[in-house]
Amino acid sequence: MSIFVCNIIKRKKQKMNQLKKFFSSTTGQIFLAALFLRVFLAPFFFHTDIKTIFYNSHFFSEGVINIYEFLAKNPDKSYLGEFPYPPLTYIFYGLLYFPLKVILGPGFPQWLAMGNDAVAIPDIFRYLFFMKIPLIFFEFLVGILIIKLIKDKNQAKAGLLFWFFNPVNIYAIVLMGQFDIIPTFLTVLALFLLLKKKKAGLAAIALGLGGALKSYPLLFLPFLVIVSSKDWRQRIKLFVFGLLPYGLFVFPFLGSVYFRQSSFVSGLSQRMFLLGLNIGFEEQILLVVLGLTFLLLLADWKIKAPENLPGYFLSLPLVILAGSHFHPQWLLWATPFLALLLAKEKKLLLPIAILIIGWLGTVFLFNDKFLTWGLISPFDSGVFFFPTVRELIKNVFEPKLLQSLFHTLFSASALWICYLVITHKFYESS
């Protein structure tokens, strides 16, 4: 018995020493600084999306499986909006609700059921903190994958610095609490599995799982399939592998008209088809689809080895965002790949800086006060009486033009980055 206890103590000491060693390293200190920032800011900033997704998913604990049908048939319970995400997101948040309810107490479900402006409640800070913890966990997992994807230690540190301290991550994860970080993690995991473990099948499954949470990682699948093999049978097999987890969660709901209405008609699928060139006779050339198809064909033509796949994983979300009215958190889809890129080539700091300035300007000029003043509402709910930034500046400058200018800056730098990553071999020595 005493030997057993001694062994446990010894193992614990070893683990503690390993942790101490890690945090004594530069990489460990970057992780620590990132953790400090997140712990410090997470309780004080609020966005309605995190509350809405938990509110809708809490019905899972009441035995509701088809949330789409439930909300459509119970309009009195759908006042925070419909559930627009695939079923796995509902299950994930539904499962997360159980431990959170225990930690946060009976006031938590009551708060979830309140309106979007319910910020003047005493326990809101603990709710916000604990709701964001799982997202921060996934952000750190991406950090670990970034280190593993970059061979050179100094480059890995630079990549990590960008990953943890770029304004996009801080805004979308720490301030807003957007769950896009989870599918983002799965896309980086897919890259890691393919490049470092040479497991294309598992990589495809990771993308499929990401797609089951939020559809966009499915767009990465054809690229992964193309670079992984030249054999068409193998390619079809990989494609099926990728679609399998998505199909597994989506198939049982396909018969539900409510699911098709809520989830299939998502923001992404609607907005991707808006930018078009009119060619007459009510026909249009859809520019985002054109860009994505061009990328895919280019990948098929050019890529001889999977090493340049991160370039395509970066270009794909940038093309979508460059040509559509995006949600702020969509840029998270690209930030890990921007980190990998910036780690390799410091000269790209300028286009990336312009990209982020364009993104910030576009986001702040949305006519939605929850994206600006609303974020600090737990601190002072008096900010709800403020006009939006768009309304504030309208006497000085035409807000639509200013927002378009910012989006144009964003698009120009996005397309320039796409051009560079496709024509240069930044990623190949990673």
Binding site: K20, F23, S24, S25, T26, G28, Q29, I30, L32, A33, A34, L35, F36, L37, V39, F40, L41, P43, F44, F45, P75, D76, Y79, G107, Q110, A113, M114, G115, D117, A118, A120, I121, P122, D123, F125, R126, F129, N154, K157, A158, L160, L161, F164, F165, I170, W373, I376, F379, D380, S381, G382, V383, F385, F386
Partner: protein
Amino acid sequence: MKAHKLSWQLSLGYCFLGILIPLAVSFLGVRNRLDTSQPVQDGFVTLDSKKILKQTFTANHDYINIIILNLKNPGLANQGEFLFSLDSEEGDVLAERPFSGYNIGDPSVVRFQFDPIASSKNKKFNILIKELVPATPSISVASSRERGLNYLVYYRTIDKKTAMIDLLNNLKRIFLSDLIFFVFWLFLIFSILLTKVKLSKRI
């Protein structure tokens, strides 16, 4: 610059902005601050033609000027006329605002603004909601079984000195509102800082 030093500088810089921006916005921009509230909501009470909904509250500041109620009218089904009034404890009507079912969503935060009441501090007030033109189905008001109607009362800040005092009081209120959590949060913050101080010397 070494990467670990830069990471801490960035981290502290963001934290500084995270404190400075809300403080500056609150001090320089916010005119109407939260006076008192009943945020707990576990259901809705319906308002029909026979009923007058009443809620009493005590103001903590002078110059109260906004009351927010959480009202519900699914699908704008009720198109009747209603009256909001704010009465003193003695029953004097201090403010009245008629409103329509058209102004109410599912649910929606409905704001009733009136001229600031100069000496409202420590005085009791009654919020009354009644139906003027009956219509069906009834609208409902968010409420708690134990604490009554869900409401928020705001007051107008009159000068910067008061704004500064109110800002400090607000900070105190935030930290005292959930002391257990903030002790835990401070423990985490100091643990991370302590680890940084202890271990960064080895680099």
